[in-house]
């Protein structure tokens, strides 16, 4: 899949930006706050209906304007025009594919797979388990619509069940315990499916991580990812173990009015040569791992969805040494189309600009072809 062009109207610092892209590498060069990351985020927006940035939709409307609009043209087996219009007055957003309004996220997620590498990725290897679950879930969701539905179902079950636990804490009644049993069964049913999906995914994804890591670092370091669920008490009988653990924690769940067992508490452990990256990894190894994870995501989604994802790299070379940067820039040639932000092209003399690559100079929300 190729993104051939986009436009941004009254989106953050951009008043009226139109860009035609190269099918190869697209570099966006500019200082901080000039609007280059905004271009990547608007592409992410078109693929997922959401910003990756923490900015809300209303905060994304350009100063003194009433709405913003984003548009893009994707070319795969067919051509699709995507438009997003947000109006500040109604606080309403519309997502249109070829003029047709789309309302359910399950109809969009995975339609245009996207991979975004950003400096915020440090949270994946160094942050809390929630960051790793978010990373893993976003990959599986893009690859499998079924998974996204189960995930939404599971999250709703969690909210309902904790609300019921709250009611039971306040007022313990027998009729509520029958009700809790029903919610517990529901929790196990969809929770089990999530665990099975994640288990299968980790098995497959490990091969992709190894390959990407090796291309960047060579063969001396062997990376791996392990799935950690049920606090490490994994079992071949997931359902049975799930019920057993819930039974053990029953009193505590009632006391704390919280869901204490299930895949919403899972973690994923990254290792290099069998050593836990979180405990033993250097800064360089962390960064390399983060980059390898995004390349692995790209090639995994390409294989499972049969579509080439849009690859966005925000300031990837800023924190890497020259040797790894060269490897990565060579690796990008295998990707095909990619979108890369840089603070200054001159600082990256190792980047060989090929004939079909495009270089855009971003200055205060305006774009010049360089």
């Amino acid at each position: 899949m190729i993104l051939t062009s986009i436009y941004l109207r009254n989106f953050r610092i951009h008043k009226d930006t139109k860009i035609k892209f190269s099918e190869n590498l697209n570099y966006f060069v500019g200082g901080n706050g000039q609007g280059k990351t905004t271009i990547l985020d608007s592409i992410y927006y078109l693929c997922t209906t959401k910003s990756h940035d923490t900015k809300t939709d209303s905060e994304s409307v350009r100063f003194n304007e009433e709405s913003f609009e984003l548009g893009g043209v994707f070319r795969g087996t067919s051509e699709n025009k995507i438009r997003i219009v947000y109006s500040l007055k109604d606080n309403k957003k519309e997502y249109l594919q070829d003029g047709k309004k789309i309302t359910r996220s399950v109809d969009i997620i995975g339609r245009f797979p996207v991979v975004l590498l950003t400096p915020a990725d440090h949270a994946i290897t160094q942050g809390y388990p929630g960051e790793r679950r978010k990373f893993i879930d976003s990959i599986i969701s893009q690859a499998s619509g079924t998974y996204l539905k189960i995930l939404l179902d599971y999250n709703k079950t969690l909210r309902q069940r904790s609300s019921l636990l709250c009611q039971m804490k306040e007022n313990r009644r027998n009729s509520l315990s029958d009700e809790l049993n029903a919610w517990t069964t529901k929790l196990v049913q969809s929770g089990k499916e999530i665990i099975e999906h994640r288990e299968k995914f980790v098995n497959e994804f490990n091969g992709f991580i190894k390959e990407s890591y090796e291309i960047i670092m060579g063969k001396e370091e062997v990376p791996a990812m392990r799935y950690f669920y049920f606090d490490g008490m994994s079992s071949s009988n997931i359902e049975g173990k799930f019920f057993e653990l819930l039974d053990q924690k029953k009193e505590e769940e009632l006391k704390r009015a919280a869901n204490l067992v299930g895949p919403h508490r899972d973690d994923f452990i990254f290792e290099i040569n069998k050593l836990n990256l979180k405990d033993f990894g250097s800064q360089g190894q962390h960064k390399t791992f983060q980059v390898a994870l995004r390349f692995a995501q790209f090639f995994y989604l390409k294989k499972t969805t049969g579509k080439t994802p849009v690859f966005l790299l925000d300031d990837v070379f800023g924190e890497l040494d020259k040797k790894r940067s060269i490897k990565i820039s060579e690796y990008l040639r295998e990707v095909g189309q990619a979108f890369i932000t840089l603070t200054d092209f001159a600082n990256f003399s190792f980047l060989k600009r090929q004939e079909n690559d495009m270089l855009f100079q971003i200055n205060n929300g305006t774009v010049d072809y360089a």
């Binding site: 539905k149 309902q160 049993n181 029903a182 919610w183 069964t185 529901k186």
Partner: protein, 198 residues
């Protein structure tokens, strides 16, 4: 801008209806204003009779003009089988398929602790009473296959099965996320036929 009081009142009332915004309410009001007296009178009559002539069936809680609804009164229906649904609108949807000839029971919603809806807020006790007074052999749970609907079905199956009554579920045939009310007739028909035993 000054808007005439009666028009304002009509817009206000219409926009209280589900799915009707201020703009639509205004368009509807102006349309009614332009209609002839006869059309308006029959609209008013239909709305009034909806409230005065319809109530809930005392046995199955379907819409009814009398104490018992047409379905409960119909001697030709199979009295050994009950189809449990969320709302009266689901009865209409299933009736349209002509695939089901048993009785119904309208729950009036689904379990949702977040909205304070527990078993006591639904017609579940009333359903259990029917197993004592009627000769029911089978229950089909035709509840929407969303998170709350599936949990409600689990809850009911656990209550009903120990009574020796066959319980089945028709959810999987319906499009996920689709409300029963909007599923096309063929889909529901297939679903009723393809129910799975719990």
């Amino acid at each position: 801008m000054q808007i005439a009081e009666p028009l304002l009142a009509a817009i206000e009332e219409l926009s209280k209806l589900p799915g009707i915004g201020k703009k639509t309410a205004q368009r509807l009001s102006l349309h009614i204003l332009k209609s002839d007296n006869e059309t308006v009178a029959s609209l008013v009559k239909a709305i009034e009779e909806l409230k005065t002539r319809l109530r809930f069936c005392s046995r199955c809680f379907n819409l009814s003009e009398e104490e018992l609804c047409e379905i409960c009164k119909n001697e030709k229906r199979d009295k050994k089988i009950i189809c449990v649904v969320e709302e009266a609108s689901d009865v209409i949807a299933i009736e349209r398929t002509h695939e089901f000839n048993g009785l119904y029971h309208v729950l009036g919603g689904v379990l949702s602790p977040l909205n304070g809806i527990g078993p006591d807020s639904l017609k579940i006790k009333e359903l259990l009473k029917r197993f004592e007074s009627e000769d029911i052999k089978e229950v089909i749970l035709a509840i929407n296959p969303d998170t709350e609907g599936e949990t409600t079905a689990l809850y009911l199956a656990r209550l009903i099965k120990p009574l020796g009554i066959k319980v089945s579920r028709i959810a999987r045939g319906l499009p996920v996320g689709g409300d029963l009310e909007f599923a096309d007739e063929a889909t529901i028909g297939r679903a009723v036929l393809g129910r799975i035993e719990l």
